[in-house]
């Protein structure tokens, strides 16, 4: 793990410059490098990280069917119309754990944005990562920041209750719920309620609105947060635009307030720590299972040894790994696996 840091070549630097200058195709290609774990991306990232931080990053999460994509379309449209603000959208959908394939369908609900050059939309598959985001979601948002987008909207997978990584990835997190989508206890189970900076009750024209809003207030009271710090609850009907302007203003107001108070910087620092930990976790995992080939070792040990404890075998795998670390044999490392590039987390 002591390889020299990759250095961005002139050609890679040229791609970064094209992104900075607003070249759409270059922007898309740099995202692909990030998604593919291309070592050129890690090198480029070192070079451009200093110019990041201007975009405000808004995470949008919530259960399936809450209307996240439609809300993204509504917010983007609002900001485009009222102030010509440039928008980036990252829409994450799940990868099938069985086939590795994915159907990325969020664009169907964002079709009004397609022909607007002020909106750049990128669909991503989770590629085996849980938590509602893909490994490279932060990187794709970084590229949109570099590309000069004022606001980046990151929409998580809507698979249930585990999409909480978004809170550690964005400046502000919206949790979108809808009447008839099950009671709030379901959303409380796995932390979805704790990550919200703003609650959005979408489809507010559906029956059950008052009850859901009341439940939300009840939950907030239970959490013993001082009244002035409680996340606001806003209602929208994204499909016809009702409440979207108020939501957009609330988002901008909260980000501005946090920027002024220093809370935004503190949060970004926490997010960065979390991101570094994810990278380290991913690299360690890859080092154990791929570079050091401990999966093969484990398979051999497992053959015909059904009585061994999982704990015993785990200790053994780690002992072998630590041993390999002490007398590092460079030839045992596969040079085709770049260990200096961004890694995934699970």
């Amino acid at each position: 793990m002591t390889e020299a840091a990759p250095v961005a070549t002139d050609r890679d630097a040229a791609l970064v410059e094209r992104v900075r200058a607003g070249d759409q195709r270059a922007c898309a290609r740099l995202m692909t490098w990030a998604e593919r774990n291309d070592p050129r991306y890690a090198a480029a990232h070192r070079a451009f990280v200093g110019s990041l931080g201007t975009a405000q990053r808004i995470g949008i999460t919530g259960p399936p069917g809450a209307g996240k994509s439609t809300l993204v379309e509504g917010l983007a449209e609002h900001w485009r119309k009222t102030e010509d603000r440039t928008i980036g959208v990252v829409a994450v959908d799940p990868t099938s754990p069985f086939t590795g394939g994915a159907l990325l369908g969020d664009r169907v609900r964002m079709s009004r944005l397609v022909l607007d050059p002020g909106v750049f939309i990128r669909s991503m598959a989770t590629r085996g990562v849980f938590g509602g985001l893909a490994r490279a979601t932060d990187d794709v948002a970084d590229v949109l920041d570099l590309y000069g987008r004022h606001t980046v909207l990151v929409e998580t997978v809507g698979v249930g209750q585990s999409e909480v990584d978004i809170a550690r990835s964005c400046d502000l997190t919206l949790v979108v719920l809808h009447p008839g989508g099950g009671d709030t206890i379901q959303a409380m189970k796995a932390g979805l309620m704790e990550v919200a900076d703003v609650y959005v009750v979408n489809k507010a024209d559906m029956p059950g609105l008052d009850r859901l809003v009341q439940e939300l207030y009840d939950v907030l009271e239970l959490r013993e947060i001082p009244e002035d710090q409680r996340p606001p609850v806003l209602t929208t009907v994204a499909s016809n635009g009702q409440g979207v302007a108020e939501l957009a203003d609330a988002i901008d107001g909260m980000v501005a307030e946090r920027r002024a108070s220093g809370a935004l910087d503190a949060r970004r620092e926490e997010n960065l720590e979390r991101r570094v930990r994810r990278l380290v976790d991913g690299r360690l995992r890859r080092d154990v299972w791929e570079t050091q080939r401990l999966a093969e070792h484990l398979h051999k040990r497992l053959a015909g040894s059904g009585t061994l404890s999982a704990y015993e075998l785990a200790d053994e795998v780690l002992d072998v790994y630590r041993g390999a670390g002490r007398d590092q044999d460079p030839s045992s490392n596969d040079p085709s696996l770049p260990d200096t590039s961004p890694e995934d987390s699970a």
Partner: protein, 139 residues
Amino acid sequence: MDEPIRVLVAKPGLDGHDRGAKVVAAALRDAGMEVIYGGLHQTPDAIVQMAVQEDVDVVGLSILSGAHMTLFPKVKELLDAAGAENVLLTGGGIISPDDMAGLEKLGVGKLFGPGSRLADLVDYIRAEVGQRRTAAGSA
């Protein structure tokens, strides 16, 4: 070729028969590809804009309206103009062999008519994308 193949599946033009596009999208997903579903009634401009932003390897169009001799060349022309000439443009619909041959001369890939096997489409995409990625280097 470890990286998933990215495919944009879209329906240009005015016909609303999207069952074929959905069947193909599901089949490509099950073959391990990342399928961006672009939806119905897309203009050639919108299709190319999506293809560029998503940096896809393949654009697959389903055209049942009879307008394939207009739509495929237009999308191909716009892809080339956008610097995405390396993207494989393929698709299906009710298209005569003569028209298929004519479109191939314009740089459109193999097209799949009624009764085609999904496995053939999957194999064709894998082979074509493999070649194109190799030719383009690791980029």
